[in-house]
């Protein structure tokens, strides 16, 4: 792979602070996505935080790291898989609910618990994946011209 045209100078302070702060940002993003049905936030907000942490990682640690190897194939696979999962889950719930079919429905659980709310948790995760990849790939495309 060719090196991108824009490759900034890296300072020691930036690298160390990035090592310290990026895991916390990503844990917070995952918390926001997983608690979307319990507290303010959800897939869109958490996905944006996750995408921002990936952009920060890309800016600080540069080309030779794992995250920047989010290749074209992987982007397409993750996005299509998330969209298909979203459509399948919600299509199932819409069809069975709309036609009043007496088939298995996902249990709603106790309101307030993490595993509750039916399909809302997996849908939040799918939306979070889509939004984070979109934010990151947009930044990378406009900044460097490649994925």
């Amino acid at each position: 792979m060719n090196k991108p045209a824009v490759e900034a100078e890296r300072s020691e302070i930036l690298t160390e602070v990035g090592k310290l702060i990026i895991p916390f940002i990503q844990v917070f993003a995952i918390y926001v996505i997983l608690n979307g049905h319990l507290s303010p936030g959800g897939g869109f907000a958490g996905g944006t935080i996750l995408g921002a942490s990936m952009i920060l990682h890309r800016l600080i640690f540069g080309w030779d790291n794992l995250i920047s190897r989010l290749t074209y194939d992987r982007v397409m696979k993750w996005m299509c898989a998330s969209l298909l999962i979203y459509g399948a889950l919600k299509g199932y719930s819409f069809l069975t609910g709309g036609m009043h079919l007496e088939v298995w429905d996902v249990p709603l659980g106790t309101p307030g618990k993490l595993l509750s709310g039916g399909f809302i948790l997996p849908l939040n995760i799918a939306v979070g994946i889509i939004v984070s990849i979109t934010v990151y790939v947009f930044f990378k495309l406009f900044y460097e011209g490649t994925i």
Binding site: F94, P111, G117, T134
Partner: protein
């Protein structure tokens, strides 16, 4: 000829849209169709029906989940378009 045609077409569209705007209900009127029972239903029975404590998540991912599916698809389409326009080939 084309310019005249486009001006006429634009004027016709403007007139049609202005007729539509003239039929809108007055802003803030209590009798407006948007002040219906849907919001009360969401607030009173949302937790029971969706199982989500956060009412916003319950609305956008359960009652109105098809709309959110459209939003995700818009993001996907925008990403594909930008990739198709801006992506450089590896061997260049």
């Amino acid at each position: 000829m084309r310019k005249v045609f486009s001006v006429v077409l634009a004027l016709a569209l403007i007139v049609i849209l202005l007729f539509g705007v003239a039929d809108l209900p007055t802003f803030g009127n209590a009798e407006n169709p948007s002040n219906n029972e849907v919001s009360y239903r969401y607030l009173e029975e949302g937790v029971e029906e969706t199982g989500a404590v956060n009412v916003v998540a319950g609305i956008i991912l359960d009652y109105r989940a098809f709309d959110t599916f459209g939003e995700a698809t818009v993001l996907f389409t925008a990403l594909i378009t930008v990739i198709a326009v801006l992506r450089r080939d590896e061997d260049e």
